[in-house]
Amino acid sequence: MPVVAITPDYKFEAKDRFENFHGNQIVYVGWDHHLMFCAAFAYPLPPTTTFADLRDKVMPEGFAVHPEYSKINWETATWLLDNEPFKPQLDKSLEEQGIGHKSLLRFQTPELKGYKNAGV
């Protein structure tokens, strides 16, 4: 539905389009059922970043403090990319595997139930 506006051509550029981030794209990463982190993290990253770098260099800054983080088995962890099942390729870049600007990555570790098994 269009905005009902006083001007006939109510149109604005998206404030968060890729061009405004100086070469970076935004990637959100959330760990399902681990609410020690109140929300997914937002990372500004070059689209050429490999998934290995995202997972092993970027993510630990925020996630490693969780008591279960070191117990994650990345072989069995599952991923969703923008709500679709996703198999990350570690040596490929974000753009090469369809992780776009403002994409949401979620990972699941069903064997880890969170602090006190409470999803925390």
Partner: protein, 502 residues
């Protein structure tokens, strides 16, 4: 012979309707250029009713009396070092959030009503908006005066207007009002007078202000209730506006319903902040957020919507979600702030053992199961000397701008993720309500000034969080932010109260 005194109705007519004039040489449409574009049809402005029939002369008389009473209390509060009588210095942090988050909205309301008060063709509506505009200016002024006393003794009160325009969590209230003020005049009235004032502000001003009194803060309680005495008039205006619009033309009904749906949801999201103030920031509790929601929305709002059903108006969309959210929302909101306590302009803390027991009692179905474990983890870390501050910036909801920390209500350990694609861009939302609002008017919300993205675009004075906080937000780091424990506020408080350092 003494002239007969006008009765209230005659006086009201003389001092509102009779001040109006007809347009014989100018084009009426040009005089009121914003009156038609929203699609609202007004056939007869004279049907506008103001049940209080307040005229400008009585308005000044009673407002002056309210001010005198209010300022006498401020003087007494200050002369008596009232800040020393609050229950606990933690309490003052709720007032910091009020000054930076709510008082600027009063000013926005003043501007908003001054603007729309010019735009309506009906004299009754213009006079009512004019009075409300002046009320709102009075509210922001009295709030500044009341809180200036705290500014002498506590951190975090110094740059509230600057912070309101810039700080990440204050974009939540700011964008709410920016959204309303950039809408047309009728939407503004439905948004603020009806959805906000009538349906929701009781939740801010009544139980919270009663809570201020219960925590020894007579100044806040009094400005709150004094503002609320105007609010009773605003609420009545809000209800009359809705009835007027619905009675004027049947084509108005779906437009008004759409606005009610939008602004009810916008309002509930904004009030998540009030929920956490009530449940976590008041050391002496009056009622839980859940109880307040039941009394002031479910009972009072339920009666209201039953009354409006005869016009074909139904309860707002997503109201069934709020019935579940009342069990969760305050806990999830305080956790967002606790974990971002390094980036907040007020102090945060872990609730005490007694407070957690109170929360268990008030939230028997949710607190122990979902939220007590979060606080136990936080406590474990604090005891190790590693107070938990999250390292990284959160994903924000495009519509309400709150970090996306709210969960699925039927699966409360899973964050609720919603998204839309519009013209090749992805947008993310915390809820069906926020997504629905975006999908109705995407061209408006593609302009959202989302603080996290703005930092990453380099528009907030620096690349690292500390620079942004210090330079762009003007927070005094180490004083305004971080945990209450170990803060200068706590240290001074203990000195004043003759307590040893905890």
């Amino acid at each position: 012979m003494v002239a007969k005194k006008l009765n209230l109705k005659e006086k009201y007519r003389a001092l509102t309707r009779d001040l109006d004039w007809d347009y014989d040489y100018a084009d009426r449409k040009k005089a009121f250029p914003y009156e038609e574009f929203e699609g609202i049809k007004i056939t007869d402005w004279s049907k506008w009713e103001d049940p209080f029939r307040l005229t400008m002369d009585s308005y000044w008389k009673y407002q002056a009396e309210k001010e005198k009473k209010l300022y006498a209390i401020f003087d007494a509060f200050s002369q008596n070092n009232g800040h020393l009588n609050v229950t606990d210095a933690r309490y003052v942090n709720a007032i910091k959030l009020f000054l930076t988050g709510v008082s600027p909205l009063e000013y926005q309301a003043f501007q908003g009503y001054a603007h729309v008060g010019r735009q309506f063709g009906g004299a009754g509506a213009r006079v009512a908006c004019q009075m409300q505009s002046i009320d709102e200016l009075r509210h922001v002024q009295t709030q500044i005066h009341a809180m200036s006393h705290y500014n002498k003794f506590f951190d975090g009160f110094q740059d509230w207007t600057h912070m309101h325009d810039r700080v990440w969590y204050l974009s939540v209230p700011k964008s709410f009002f920016d959204d309303a003020r950039s809408a047309g005049p009728f939407e503004f009235l439905v948004a603020i007078s009806f959805s906000f004032e009538y349906v929701l502000t009781n939740l801010l001003f009544v139980p919270f202000m009663s809570g201020a009194a219960h925590n020894g803060d007579m100044a806040t309680c009094t400005f709150g209730f004094s503002a609320q005495s105007d609010e009773a008039r605003h609420m009545t205006l809000g209800l009359e506006i809705i009835k007027f619009l619905l009675e004027q033309h049947e084509d108005n009904v779906p437009i008004v319903q759409k606005w009610i749906d939008k602004w009810f949801w916008r309002g509930t999201r904004l009030l998540a902040l009030v929920g956490m103030m009530m449940d976590y920031m008041l050391p002496n509790k009056v009622m839980s957020w859940k109880e307040a929601w039941e009394v002031y929305f479910e009972d009072a709002g339920g009666a209201l919507f039953k009354d409006l059903a005869r016009y074909g108006i139904r309860m707002p969309k997503f109201v069934e979600t709020t019935a579940k959210e009342k069990e969760h929302i305050s806990h999830q909101a305080w956790w967002i702030f606790y974990t971002h306590g390094h980036a907040a302009g007020f102090h945060t803390w872990i609730p005490s053992a007694e407070e957690m027991d109170w929360l268990s009692e008030k939230y028997p179905d949710t607190f122990d199961k979902y939220y007590r474990p979060r606080w136990e983890l936080a406590k474990e870390m604090e005891d190790r000397g590693e107070r938990f501050y999250t390292n990284g910036l959160p994903q924000l909801c495009t519509t309400c701008q709150i970090p996306m920390g709210f969960t699925e209500m039927d699966n409360p350990t899973q964050i609720s993720y919603r998204s839309s694609d519009f013209e090749g861009e992805k947008y993310h939302f915390c809820s069906d309500g926020c997504k629905h609002i975006f999908d109705e008017e995407p061209e408006k919300y593609v302009q959202s000034w989302l603080p996290v993205h703005q930092i990453y675009q380099g528009n907030c004075g620096g690349a690292d969080v500390e620079t942004v906080l210090r330079e762009y937000y003007k927070m005094n780091l180490g004083e305004d932010n971080m945990d209450f424990k170990g803060s200068p506020d706590e240290k001074r408080w203990n000195e004043w109260k003759g307590k040893g350092v905890a």
